[in-house]
Symmetry: C2
Subunit: 157 residues, 2 copies
Amino acid sequence: MNPIEHIAQQFAAQNYKLTSQREAIVQVLLDNEKDHLSVEEVYMIVKLSYPHLGLATVYRTLELLTELHIVEKMNFGDGVARYDLRGDEQAHMHHHLICNVCGKLEEIKDDWLVDLESRLEREYGFTVTDHRLDFKGSYNTCKSTGCKKEKDCKAVS
Amino acid sequence: MNPIEHIAQQFAAQNYKLTSQREAIVQVLLDNEKDHLSVEEVYMIVKLSYPHLGLATVYRTLELLTELHIVEKMNFGDGVARYDLRGDEQAHMHHHLICNVCGKLEEIKDDWLVDLESRLEREYGFTVTDHRLDFKGSYNTCKSTGCKKEKDCKAVS
DNA sequence: GTTGATGCAAAAAGTTTGCATATCG
DNA sequence: CGATATGCAAACTTTTTGCATCAAC
């Protein structure tokens, strides 16, 4: 089953209508899976293929997708909400590397926190349902080349 | 040297004036060190002792304190920026536990990430300067007592 | 005394909401 | 057909900014 069909099923299961607008928005997210798009960015992109679509619909759809746990709403401190598609069981495999030099935001698809979470359970009586782990710093390649922008960056993609 | 003197020194070192407004704002942060106050909350509290102070000054002061790395600006997804005093060398000893049941936000003063950071250095060529680690979940005591608000919560303080 | 900080109000930016119309199931 | 989603515009919230006045060094 392809991703859009899978999401369509999740909509249907909760009695939400899969309108053409919602489908177009989900498609934008799938096409830009590696980015963390803001509402405004999703709006700009989806308008290319669906010029009539309104901004409020983007807000409402992204809110709905968040409720359904299809996307995750995040805030990286730039004043806008950003959305990240959650792969199927990847909720917990999802850390970020943010480069101070080039601005690149890399995702790490791995779960490095299982040990810490059992420690929380043991020592704090706290059961983890979700987590967030971001690292800020710099790629050594960025420091040596002095790249200023992501597109010049030689760091691993 | 007490905290406020230490901060005064950091201001002086960077040629920033320590006005009475700024001092009042810093004092509020010190008095509420365990909370993560929003701008509006700081404003309400500081107005009690300094009624004439303007909201823009709170915004400007907190921005300045962030630049000086005296506080850390964070966003927990409730739509407002929140500020957390950084103890001296505690930048890295600073994780959060957020309870889904009672809403409590606990700080963990410990650094659980040293191993992961050396792994990033090795495997990704990435040098970490800062990080953020939040866990969402629930205290087992909250689940069993069914407390709804922080003040009813029996979880460890 | 100079330079930078404050207060106020206005504006900007991001997000939410009300309502008439249109669409999916 | 009925319930729900959309588009538009207005409202709301949070944050930023311009400018005259004031205060710290």
